[in-house]
Symmetry: C2
Subunit: 327 residues, 2 copies
């Protein structure tokens, strides 16, 4: 009897496996395996390794306390779960730290999308006075030299190549490796696994009500700017000064969204359920029922992939000499 | 001809391998492979893995910003290279953070040796108001439960086992894995490598002038209390109140000392050369020449082993919910 049941359940599985494809709303799909690589910053194993060291390098910050990983912690899905991250002298920034995971897939970086590449983005936080607070690009370069980075840069970029730009290039190359495959949703699309009925209802619902017109495609973002009239943050207007950019933000991806609370640019929303409800109301003028919210959250839960496995790097340090941290 | 030279150089090497043993001052030796394991805290793979997560877990701190790894950074030889570490609300502690590497070998923990075990030590920083600043043991336990640690503790310690004591046990178990074998000195002792002539002179000098009466044995510490009349810190007296404990500290190991600047309990000395000079003068009333200092530093440089390879853990987090960090 047991055998028969197993057989029945297996055929049901493959039967539903066939059905699956037609259930998936148009546009949704499996996370791509590799972000586009800029022509002027090819990826090499040595550059990725250097970038990883720099990603974990507190010497970039004035105090010697903060690295990229402080706020975009790879032990916690590329975020710090803070409303606003803690920066130099316990200052707080004004925007919630977005995850670094899969960021190689975004064509705009930062909440306001002001950086067009990871290379450009990586140059922001070191010099931001409320984040790492380094005095200047030269300050960072001197620190990296004092820490012992010259041979590592020279191996990757050629002679006398320790520079702020090359630092950013190496960090960006490392960040492009931080992708999260094998989410339950992806395995479902590939016919290698299933997701719950609630998740399937949520999947259909986000398509039906129009969430996926912006949170589109396999990335669940169209990588575009969209206005979101919520909170005090002016978004892109704070960069351009234009009224048409008021409260305009880049569309965030849903990938791993269940692991990156709190939510929104101001980190004001503590639960994914609440975030879903608010987004539907403000962006789509839709009042979701409690069960719709619950279904959508169940679907979003299926977008959590495998976090990248990262061996902690060993950072270069001068032997027998302290580095000169500052207040 | 090339073949002959290779042969000659190989036999010279093994020849010097035979000579080596007699050059090594009595007591010095290879780093042990494994610290003693307390009977009430056996090491298991699951416990070590849990301890690693807890070591990297910022949820232990009130702000959600600090983990053990913040100050005892495994990317930088188990230290943060700060004079005094940055803690809650940018407060600074009063003692230089000692390295966690090889700390399983010390029979006293903290600079003043007030903790007899790693288990006891691990319970200090979470509740220290200038470090992690957690309100109480219960506060930490609630945080760990909210983060999702219950199943992980239960796997290791049995049902309903999330507790402050078990947290410390798991962290201690992980810390006992953080050892640094294969220092050039160790390979030299084993006849597998050589050290420079300067290092050999330094090795003899530290024995001749008596450094190794305290910095004794393969650990280069006798694990005892010794008075060091330097700076304002009262050392053990600040714990016991006894005059006989004035400026008494545990003897620090020389293992990886070249990588853990700045030096001394108050982190006031920026270079190893200066530290060597001061120690010889204060502890042994010996004025070292510049070349003696240089030789001793060359020897200390040979005590840097292989840093442990650590795969960054993925920390448990509730899906779709923010954790409640506090100021």
């Amino acid at each position: 009897m047991k055998k028969y049941m197993l057989f029945a359940s297996l055929s049901l599985f493959s039967f539903s496996g066939v059905l699956i494809a037609s259930e998936i709303p148009e546009g949704m799909g499996v996370l791509p395996t590799q972000p586009a690589i800029p022509a002027d910053n090819p990826m090499t194993a040595q550059k990725i390794e250097l970038g990883k060291k720099l990603y974990f390098e507190p010497a970039i910050s004035k105090s010697g306390h903060f690295s990229c990983n402080s706020c975009h912690n790879l032990a916690t899905w590329g975020v710090d779960n803070q409303v606003f991250s803690i920066g130099h002298k316990w200052q707080r920034g004004g925007r919630n730290a977005p995850t670094v995971l899969n960021s190689g897939f975004w064509s705009k970086q930062f909440w306001d999308g002001r950086a067009a590449s990871l290379e450009e983005q990586a140059k922001g936080p070191p010099l931001n006075p409320v984040e790492m607070a380094a005095d200047s690009e030269g300050f960072v370069v001197t620190r990296l030299k004092n820490a012992g980075y010259e041979p590592l840069f020279n191996n990757v970029f050629g002679k006398n190549s320790v520079s702020f730009d090359n630092m950013a290039k190496a960090i960006a190359a490392f960040e492009r490796t931080l992708i999260t495959p094998n989410a339950p949703f992806d395995l479902f699309v590939e016919g290698k696994g299933d997701i719950s009925k609630a998740a399937k209802r949520g999947m259909k619902k986000v398509s039906d009500i129009g969430c996926t017109s912006c949170h589109a495609g396999p990335l669940f973002t169209n990588n575009e700017f969209v206005a979101f009239q919520y909170g005090q943050d002016l978004g892109l207007k704070s960069v351009t000064g234009k009224d048409e950019d008021d409260h305009v933000f880049r569309v965030q991806s849903w990938r791993n969204i269940a692991m990156t609370a709190p939510y929104f640019n101001d980190g004001s929303v503590k639960t994914l359920s609440e975030a879903v409800k608010i987004m539907a109301k403000i962006q789509l003028d839709t009042d979701l029922s409690a069960s719709d919210v619950s279904d959508i959250v169940a679907f979003l839960d299926t977008l959590t992939g495998d976090a990248p496995k990262v061996v902690l790097p060993l950072l270069p340090r001068p032997t027998g000499h302290a580095l000169d941290w500052q207040e």
